[in-house]
């Protein structure tokens, strides 16, 4: 069995104004306030291409290693739907702005990008029930209508659902880094349709398109579900019809939306209201020069020149604010390798457990530095360090205040620790016996006991030394 997956991705560009009129690009405004004769399709209104859209599209295309075409053009995609005021969408069908790009996955696999084209978003519908067919009434908000999109079409180069997910995440990281889109799937700023087909030795299934996938997690889940479904159908010797299915995030399944026969004939033809789009070599060169460092380039730099592990480097380079945080920490004199561990293992863990996005203000570099210093100079243990960091994250208090206030400084004074060590030894005669019979690995058990009694404040190195001394002395 071989699975073939290709993706069609729509990204809203975060330009100031819409693609073909001067209305604000703001989906959160009060309904139907960012509208004009052009984006509501009044008679006689004409589109004017927003140059910022071209700028952003070029930036994205260059970041995805595409070939930019000096000449491209616009076309109309005709279909009727209440959220589409003109009865057609302006897109680039015959001559897209860019083709032939790629993104490399972390395992080195290259996912080719077939094309990137500019188009416009439709409005948003609100139905009085789940679907338009059941609804007694529907309302349309045209604020979203005319918001610029780029559609990115990959070659069917992915074989596993997790590859599709990784591709989407990498794409989001790139789009964010170059500041052309928020890349937010949950609110529809980034949308993904997945095409999947499966073939075994004898036959191959038709291509099934899965729509409405609205999170990175669901990219994987929807494909897993669909692959299982298709495999099952094939096993039963039945045909897999070519169709479009929708992902239902509530039931975690896909449902048939329309068959191939019910597909629209979009009657594409060149948009007569817009001249051809000419992009000069100079412009492409200028934009290329202005591009920020992309996540993969950055990760390589962290790995090669700063000695950060590959995994940590990838994580830190993904997000612009995070990589800046890391770089600032290193610039303030902290060791790159150590800092990368701290950020990935401790700092990010706190944000992840809250499922919130990283925000450098929650744990400032100063505070991170203080906590690292405390730990590295053995003034607090790693365990206590975690606790202090959680407190900083929660309350924003200074680590000094927390350490002092809670009396968390590590006890490394042997006189203070010896009584606790003795206590732990006295409480565990069986383990002492084991030790004495030569099983020295139980030493850690005693250290743990002492750490517990001292609430993590004891210096484990000193404790270990003391236990060893006491047990060995008894011999």
């Amino acid at each position: 069995m071989k699975t073939v997956i290709g993706l069609e991705i729509h990204t809203q560009l975060s330009t100031e104004t819409k693609a073909f009129c001067s209305c604000k690009n703001d989906v959160y405004a009060e309904v139907n306030t960012n509208i004009c004769p052009v984006c509501t399709g009044q008679p006689g209104a004409l589109p004017i291409l927003n140059d910022q859209v071209v700028e952003y599209a070029i930036r994205a295309a260059l970041s995805l290693e595409c070939e930019i075409h000096e000449i491209s053009s616009f076309d109309r995609k005709n279909y009727f739907y209440p959220d589409l005021p003109k009865g057609y969408q302006i897109t680039q069908y015959f001559h897209p702005i860019a083709t032939n790009g790629h993104v490399d996955l972390n395992n080195g696999k290259r996912i080719r990008i077939q094309r990137i084209h500019i188009e416009e978003d439709a409005g948003k519908m609100f139905h009085s029930s789940e679907t338009i067919t059941e609804a007694r009434s529907s309302l349309v908000d045209l604020n979203r209508c005319g918001i610029p999109l780029i559609e990115i079409v990959t070659e069917p180069d992915m074989e596993k659902p997790e590859e599709a997910r990784e591709f989407m995440e990498k794409l989001r990281d790139i789009l964010r880094t170059i500041e052309v889109s928020t890349g937010n799937m949950e609110v529809g700023a980034l949308r993904c349709d997945a095409n999947v087909s499966i073939r075994d030795k004898e036959r191959s299934s038709s291509r099934v398109e899965v729509k409405n996938i609205n999170s990175f997690k669901f990219v994987q889940r929807a494909l897993e579900y669909e692959i299982e479904r298709i495999t099952e159908v094939m096993k039963n010797g039945e045909n897999v019809p070519q169709e479009t299915r929708g992902w239902d995030s509530l039931t975690k399944s896909t449902v048939s939306m329309r068959s191939k026969e019910a597909e629209n004939d979009y009657r594409y033809f060149p948009e007569p209201d817009l001249p051809i789009l000419v992009i000069s070599k100079e412009r492409i060169d200028r934009i290329k020069k202005e591009l920020p460092e992309l996540p993969d380039e950055k990760a390589e730099k962290y790995e090669k020149t700063l000695g950060v592990t590959r995994d940590n480097a990838k994580i830190l380079a993904k997000d612009k604010t995070l990589s800046k945080y890391f770089e600032n920490a290193v610039a303030s004199g902290l060791s790159a390798k150590d800092t990368s561990n701290w950020i990935v293992n401790e700092v990010l863990a706190l944000f992840n457990s809250d499922s919130t996005e990283f925000n450098h203000e929650r744990i400032s570099i100063d505070n991170l530095k203080k906590i690292m210093d405390y730990t590295n100079s053995s003034k607090i243990s790693r365990l206590v360090a975690k606790e202090v960091m959680a407190e900083v994250y929660k309350s924003g208090k200074d680590p000094d205040t927390i350490v002092r206030g809670k009396n968390l400084l590590q006890v490394s004074n042997e006189n203070e620790l010896i009584s606790v060590v003795k206590e732990v030894i006295a409480e565990n005669p069986d383990t002492v016996a084991k030790y004495k019979s030569g099983k020295t690995s139980v030493l850690g058990f005693f250290v743990g006991g002492v750490m517990k009694k001292t609430k993590g404040k004891a210096d484990p190195k000193i404790v270990g030394k003391l236990i060893k001394q006491l047990l060995d002395d008894e011999n």
Binding site: P37, T40, G41, Q42, P43, G44, A45, L46, P47, I48, L49, R76, N78, F80, P82, P85, K86, G87, Y88, I132, T133, S138, V140, D265, R267, Y268, F269, P272, D273, L274, P275
Partner: protein
């Protein structure tokens, strides 16, 4: 006899205080309301003045497919019967800015699809030369209004001849500028790559004055070009030594009456020292076919917005598809439906290459053949229409009807400037001569027209301006 005056004549009269601005306006308001009941040129009337300028005191009319804020813009269609414009078309605004007063919006074939106003959803307009005959179309209301002196000038739109053909039928001047010179913003689109707004006037000089006023690059229309052409400057210069081409294809099946009238035109211009030669432009025989692939294709897309969802007629039904079907069935007339069907067919995936794509290629061929002729000739000339105004209902076969545009269509396909000037009467019905030149040679087209107009002499108004 104010109605006989040209725009220029009225401006002069106002300037020399023979008349006040108000007097002129009131005169035309009265005359319009009196004669319109017979001609039915207007779909709605008004008296809107916005700015102050050299056209202050000059009334005019606009075809009812151009937006005028707070007025209805019906496009001659039931589907937009109650549609109120939310903004004003650029070309209209430019005239308003110069102080002119809109007196009304004129009748047209529904969405400008037709050559007689018989396809207006409301009523046909009558030809002031003979009220049993059509005024031509689709800008028939504008042409009739100017010919009968209801207004001294009007705006029309020309997609395949819709300014020039009614001008020919009504005995006035109709000028279609080079594609891209006049903004289409606010002109309800029929076929976007062909549509162009142009003036209908009594004189060539008036056409130049109004043409100059409405021209210019528009930030709201990406197909407009930044080109300044002075249409008036050299309009009186002589045309001696110029060479005019008459396409052999235009002469072939021409009826004798029209042929004779056109011969007279040739004799007249020869007296101006102009050479006239017959020249083959073989691809012209495909012009009508190409036009009736491209125009309906673009129209089928342009008219998709009339779906009953946001504005215009809406027939309530239980489903969205039902609303679409019923609204468009009740809202569009037969000719519009025919063209939407045609265009939907030729754009469909299975037929795109065979029809639309091929038509685009032939269009390019027509363009290059015309351009080539215009390298060695100053203009291409011929009768504007194959016949004079026909009677209501006389042409019922769509194919015969479409052939009305046979001479006017090439200029739209090639984006060339073209003007129709009255060249004579046949059985007391006017017919025009059409002069077409290279892109942006609008000044030359008007200069040739003006030279001919001078040698031709004054052209009569229908029955001295009254109706029989």
């Amino acid at each position: 006899m104010l109605f006989k005056k040209s725009v220029e004549g009225l401006i002069e009269a106002i300037k020399h205080r023979e008349l006040s601005e108000e007097e002129v306006i009131e005169y035309f308001v009265k005359r319009s309301s009196k004669l319109n009941s017979k001609l039915k040129a207007f779909l709605s009337t008004c008296k809107i003045k916005k700015g102050k300028g050299f056209l202050s005191g000059i009334p005019f009319a606009i075809k009812d497919n151009m937006q005028l804020e707070n007025m209805k813009t019906t496009c001659g269609s039931r589907i937009l019967e109650d549609y109120g414009s939310t903004y004003t078309a650029t070309a209209v605004q430019k005239i308003l800015n110069m102080g002119a007063t809109v007196l009304g919006k004129t009748n047209l074939d529904e969405f400008a699809m037709g050559s007689s106003t018989e396809y207006s959803a409301f009523f046909p307009t009558k030809n002031p030369w003979d009220v049993e005959r059509v005024p031509g179309g689709s800008s028939g209301g504008s042409a009739a209004a100017v010919a009968a002196g209801l207004v001294p000038f009007a705006l029309g739109s020309d997609t395949g001849g819709s300014v020039r053909q009614p001008a020919s039928f009504c005995g006035i001047v109709g000028y279609k500028p080079t594609y891209g010179l006049v903004s289409r913003y606010g002109l309800s689109a029929f076929a976007s790559s062909l549509d162009q707004i142009g003036p209908l006037t009594k004189t060539v000089r008036d056409a130049a004055i109004i043409g100059k006023t409405i021209m210019g690059i528009d930030p709201n229309d990406a197909t407009t070009v930044d080109k300044k052409i002075d249409l008036i400057d050299k309009i009186e210069s002589n045309v001696e030594g110029m060479r005019l081409a008459v396409p052999v294809e235009f002469m072939k099946d021409l009826n004798q009456n029209v042929k004779n009238t056109f011969k007279k035109f040739i004799e007249d211009v020869k007296r101006l020292g102009v050479e006239v030669e017959e020249v083959p432009i073989p691809s012209l025989k495909y012009a009508v076919a190409v036009y009736y692939v491209i125009a309906p294709a673009e129209a089928s897309s342009n008219l998709s917005r009339y779906d009953g969802i946001r504005y215009g007629l809406r027939v309530e039904e239980d489903s969205v598809a039902g609303i679409y079907n019923q609204t468009r069935d009740k809202g569009f007339g037969s000719e519009v439906k025919r063209r939407i069907m045609l265009g939907t067919f030729t754009l469909s995936a299975a037929y795109y290459d065979a029809y639309f794509d091929k038509a685009q290629k032939v269009r390019t061929k027509i363009k290059s053949e015309m351009d080539e002729v215009l390298e060695s000739y100053d203009a291409i000339v011929g009768p504007t229409t194959p016949v004079t105004a026909f009677k209501f209902g006389e042409i019922s076969n769509p194919l015969d009807y479409y052939l009305q545009d046979i001479y006017t269509i090439p200029a739209n396909l090639a984006g060339l400037p073209s003007v129709s000037v009255p060249m004579g009467l046949i059985d007391n019905l006017p017919i025009g001569v059409q002069i077409t030149s290279k892109r942006f040679e609008d000044a030359k087209v008007l200069r040739i027209a003006r030279s001919y107009e001078k040698i031709r002499g004054e052209f009569p108004m229908p029955i001295g301006g009254e109706l029989k």
